[in-house]
């Protein structure tokens, strides 16, 4: 029995099992933080294809309402309102005002576009459950 010196459980084995327990704990923790991340979505404002601003909003609970004025150059502006009712463009001085008349957006994947100002506000983030259908529909 030449290999007998490797046969009996040794002190180092304990460390390996301890290591495994720690790894399991860490990955469960990681999974938790990831699912918290998923419930948060980001409102992104783009101008001429570039992201100029982004706001994190929580999908649960009340969202503190706020208005953001975005100047698109040459005197153009759009005012975005973020609130519990969703995201809307409440005022703009673009010629067609399509962005103002657009319905509020709430679900990741939706966006409001103002073509004259090359202005886009969109909600990004992974959608959950039923929302997935709306994503493709909108």
């Amino acid at each position: 029995m030449i290999m007998d010196k490797f046969m009996k459980p040794k002190i180092g084995d304990l460390f390996i099992y301890l290591f495994i327990v720690v790894l399991i704990g860490l990955s469960l923790l990681g999974l938790r933080t990831m699912s918290i991340d998923r419930s948060n979505t980001v409102v992104q404002i783009q101008l001429d294809g570039k992201v100029i601003d982004s706001y994190e909003i929580s999908q649960e609970g009340e969202i503190e309402a706020r208005e953001i004025r975005v100047d698109s150059g040459q005197g153009g502006y759009n005012i975005v309102r973020i609130s519990s009712e969703g995201i809307a463009v409440i005022d703009a001085n673009c010629p067609d005002k399509l962005c103002v008349r657009s319905p509020n957006i709430k679900v990741p994947g939706q966006s409001i576009v103002c073509i004259p100002h090359k202005f886009v506000v969109r909600i990004i983030g992974e959608s959950q459950g039923d929302n997935a259908v709306d994503d493709t529909a909108s």
């Binding site: 290999m3 040794k10 002190i11 290591f19 990831m34």
Partner: protein, 169 residues
């Protein structure tokens, strides 16, 4: 050991590892992604009979040829990353700390790091650590069982081979 004999032995060991890798594909497992890792037995046998360099040769050749047998070429990346990482860890434990670890412990560590290597590669390819977090807990538990079993098998093989081949291990 004579060079020719060593080459022949390594060739036999690699082919045995490949056959083990192939037939374990037919054995159903409980968790998705979990495997018995029988080929790991041959890595440990090589490590004990020959040493670090030979063990890594066996691991690398097996990792490249194994997925080809199974039919998916993309699998090479996963099996190489897992195989090399676990081979390195097992070598360090076996060669540098023989008085602290049993064969079962070393085998379990090998299984653990094989999973870690593969999952890190998968996470890198898919661009999210979620894969690592999701699969790791289940695979770690599986590694405890399969690692212990593989260590036990390795120990019996080494006893047998050691007597037959007159190799000092």
């Amino acid at each position: 050991m004579i060079k020719t004999r060593k080459i022949t032995m390594l060739a036999i060991i690699i082919s045995q590892a490949l056959v083990l890798h192939y037939i374990e594909g037919f054995i159903p497992v409980l968790a998705p992604g979990a495997k018995l890792g029988l080929a790991n037995i041959m890595t440990m046998v090589t490590l004990a009979l020959f040493g670090f360099k030979e063990a890594m040769i066996v691991v690398i050749i097996r990792s490249v040829l194994g997925p080809l047998l199974g039919g998916s070429i993309t699998g090479i990346l996963y099996s190489l990353s897992g195989g090399i990482l676990s081979g390195l860890v097992m070598s360090v434990l076996y060669l540098n700390f023989p008085s602290y670890f049993s064969l079962m412990g070393i085998s379990t560590a090998g299984a653990v790091f094989h999973n870690i290597g593969q999952l890190l590669t998968a996470s890198w390819i898919f661009g999210t650590l979620g894969i690592l977090y999701t699969y790791l807990p289940v695979l770690m538990l599986a590694a405890v069982v399969t690692g212990y079993f593989n260590g036990l098998v390795t120990r019996y093989i080494l006893n047998y081979l050691g007597n037959k081949l007159d190799i000092k291990v």
